[in-house]
């Protein structure tokens, strides 16, 4: 039962603590009563191709292939990607779309593998203690090929984070601050030595100067086990730090603040302040990869909540149906209401148990009304600006103002109030007396802003294209005009020269005429056939000559006039 007391605390913003946070009822005892149990083999496994942040791997097998346990099914493809391995030996029945635990709820490519129950391993060549002789690059390659991703819940490929440039502090996160989850607690209790060994491998890769393992003070047995393992370790390199139990102290940014007193820049990464953070389970997986050449084909999952008959932690293969895991833990109780992958603050509700366990499934929580009442209705009271959300916000935001602007879709103001500093931890939601689903509003606002950003980019590109086209057209127009102008000029010039030529020709003609005239004047025309003419004919000629003369004279007079 939840306590009805005031459970929230307004934390002071000291150097080694973060602002806000809440004290939550832990319910961890529910699943820590028995040691980690090994989940028995199932007949069919469904292994999704993409269980991590980043690109899908490149598929190496096809339906009908016989595969061995630990055989790589997909090779990492691109910078941020992870390999996928077969959890059992058997036959690939199909590679097809299936649903798996994902916020989208959509189906995606999965390897469906039929177990032949022979448990035949692929040939393994563990590096063991010799890893000390290997370089960072080779070790990173081994981790990458082992398909190791952040097992705390985010699923970011581990090797990608392990840069060897400028990291001084390695933090191994065993805080596990969300209620109900106890897989890291149990892992630390039972495998502390392996976690330490894994941490030393990571420290070598990144050339860390110091390494801190952080555990919340509500896990005394894990603290004992880890401190014993640290004492047994002769390097003296690793230290244990117990942190107070305040949600969300296990958040990467919050934990780094607690340990180092430094804040990861809002839009930056831990590497920006020379820190690398890995979950204890990731460290354990890295140990297995290096010392036993076991890729990430199984993990420890907390099966808990009052809706399960016997809550406990199980070590189960990736791809095991959730239904089988619950059955292994005694099955459901009658009042089971909801199935959550992850914790009650940031987990994901699943609408069916016919989905596989994946690399990031740290917890399967089956709730009853005794555990929590799922938010039933969409309606909530208006915000009364009480400011409880401000007191608990670990990012030191003003959730009530952000809510106002997010609900209003006034995204510019929301961005100004650092909406993107929100880690969606749910503290504000938890304390809100008006039951406003604040985190949902913030998620919507964020995706709205991303959408706008995409639209803006698209329209920017379109505008750019339009402007380029405009510029091109302008240029063409200019060129055309230039050409026309030149032509016109040329034409105008051409007309002038034509005239000159014409004048010249006229002059020539005039000259020629003048010459002819002159010649004519010098040699009067002698009429032909004037010999041997009769008297009468001569008379007529003389008469014609007279007429001609007369006419000429008249014309000459006219000319004179």
């Amino acid at each position: 039962m939840l306590s009805r007391d005031k459970t929230w605390v307004g934390n002071d913003n000291g150097e080694h603590s973060f602002h806000g946070g809440i004290k939550l009822p832990g319910h961890k005892d529910l699943s820590t009563q028995s040691p980690i149990a090994d989940m028995p083999a199932c007949d069919v496994y469904t292994v999704p191709l993409n269980q991590h942040i980043g690109a899908e791997g490149e598929i190496l097998v096809k339906a009908g292939d016989h595969v061995l346990k630990g055989q790589m099914l997909a090779r990492p493809h691109g910078m941020v990607s992870a390999a996928i391995h077969s959890p059992v030996s058997g036959e690939i029945i199909e590679i097809s779309n299936h649903r798996f635990p994902h916020p989208s709820g959509l189906a995606a490519p999965c390897f469906v593998i039929k177990n032949d129950h022979k448990d035949e391993w692929i040939e393994r060549n563990p590096v063991g203690d010799d890893y000390a002789q290997l370089g960072s690059h080779e070790l990173r390659g081994l981790i990458r090929d082992a398909g190791i991703v952040g097992l705390g819940g985010a699923g970011f490929p581990a090797a990608v984070k392990q840069t060897e440039v400028g990291i001084t502090t390695l933090i191994i996160n065993g805080v596990e601050c969300e209620p109900y989850i106890s897989c890291d607690d149990m892992l630390m209790r039972e495998h502390a030595d392996e976690i330490i060994a894994g941490a030393k491998i990571i420290a070598q890769i990144i050339k860390a100067e110091n390494c801190v393992i952080a555990i919340e003070d509500n896990k005394p047995q894990a603290i004992d086990a880890v401190s014993k393992a640290i004492n047994d370790d002769d390097s003296g390199f690793i230290e244990l730090q117990v942190v107070p139990t305040i949600y969300p102290s296990g958040g990467e940014r919050q934990l780094i603040k607690i340990i180092t007193g430094m804040e990861v820049p809002m839009n930056g990464l831990p590497a920006d302040i020379h820190v690398l953070c890995h979950n204890v389970a990731t460290s354990y997986a890295i140990y297995n990869a290096i010392y036993h050449a076991i890729p990430l084909i199984s993990r420890i999952v907390t099966i808990t909540g009052h809706g399960v008959q016997s809550p406990q932690n199980i070590n189960t293969a990736i791809g095991t149906p959730i239904k089988d895991c619950i059955e292994f833990c005694g099955g459901y109780r009658d009042d089971a209401r909801a199935l959550i992958m992850g914790g009650p603050m940031m987990g994901l509700t699943l609408d069916t148990d016919e989905l596989p366990v994946i690399k990031t499934s740290n917890c399967l929580l089956v709730t009853t009304p005794e555990d929590m009442a799922l938010p039933a209705s969409k309606s909530h009271m208006p915000c009364i600006r009480c400011g409880k959300c401000v007191d608990v916000c670990p990012a030191n935001l003003l959730p009530q103002q952000l809510y106002w602007y997010s609900a209003d879709r006034d995204y510019d103001r929301a961005i100004n109030l650092n909406l993107f500093g929100c880690i969606e931890c749910g503290c504000c939601d938890y304390v809100c007396p008006s039951d406003i689903p604040l985190v949902q509003y913030f998620r919507h606002a964020k995706s709205g802003i991303w959408e706008q950003e995409r639209e803006r980019k698209k329209s920017d590109i379109a505008r750019q294209r339009h402007e380029n086209r405009q510029a091109r057209q302008d240029k063409q127009k200019q060129e055309r005009e230039e050409r026309l102008r030149k032509k016109r000029e040329a034409l105008a010039k051409g007309k002038d020269s034509h005239k000159l030529e014409l004048d010249k020709k006229k002059a020539l003609i005039a000259d020629a005429l003048a010459r002819v005239k002159e010649k004519k004047a010098k040699q009067p025309v002698k009429p032909k056939n004037t010999e041997n003419l009769t008297e009468e004919q001569l008379e007529k000629i003389a008469e014609a000559d007279r007429r001609r003369k007369k006419l000429k004279k008249e014309r000459g007079d006219q000319d004179a006039v």
Binding site: A336, A338, L339, P344, C386, V390, A395, Q400, D429, Y430
Partner: protein, 349 residues
Amino acid sequence: MLFKKADAPYLKDYSNVQSMMLKVIYALIPGSIAMFWFFGWGVLFNLAIAISVCLASEAMMLKFRRRPVEPALKDGSALVTACLLALALPPLAPWWLVAIASLFAIVVAKHLYGGLGFNPFNPAMVGYVVVLISFPREMTLWTPPLGVAGGWPSFTDAVAIVFGSGISTQALDAITMATPIDILKTHINMEHDIEYVRTHKVYGELFGPVTGVGWEWINGLYLAGGLWLIKQGVIDKRIPISFIISLVLISNFLSVLDYASYSSALFHTLSGGTMLAAFFIATDPVTASTTPRGRIIYGAGIAAIAYIIRNWGGYPDGIAFAVLLMNMAAPLLDQYTQPRTFGKSEAKS
């Protein structure tokens, strides 16, 4: 097996608006009992009238606005407004004065601005100021406290004064008095000193060792209720602390400078509506600043303005005006006091 889907987080604290409002009411009870003890039936009449008018007008407005009536009535916000208003008004105020103040508080100051969570001004203070400006004479008439000048009137007299015209103006004047703060201001403006008033043959009786008779009890019990509210996490401690410290600093400074004309810090903190304002009125979250630093400035601002009006203004007590003026400043305060976000190098202003 199939399950219902929902969105994280799934865990919820059990606090809700209704329980917060009810705790405010509980915290008001000791102070109200002290007020009843010293000022008589009128306090109860005020409460009864204010509560019925506030709830009725809340229901009416919700109906007009086509909002669900029952959940909003149950949230207790109208009840809190009614109680704060009733406890701030003079105990023998005529019924219509209380009714007008209540009606205005709920209809205009609350619902016309959009109802709970959207009103920029504290509804109770808007109601108070409306009647203070409209009916200044009625607002200055307080019954003398228990044991002074015959004390408060009997039940039948009180009924006659509040609900009827059964009493003449002269008779009313005879049984009512201004509050100690008001009397002090009037006389100091007439160039009398504090000692003169305290030893005056008529008013002197009103003053106890520290402040007006009864007022230190009333304020002390409001203080206790307020501290309980802080412990319960219902109100934020910054506003009352900053309010009280600022009032102490200002009044102490002036009283040290001129002991004869300025009352002590203790007088100011335990007089009139100081504690009611500090813990119950100024802390109304809807109309106050919401940032941590903004709340400190907000509380200090109310103290400064209230002190100025108390001493030099034309009204008996300045808290209502001070609260409303700072309500106006709240959005600006919020804008310029944004805390530094985690991982940001410095706060944006």
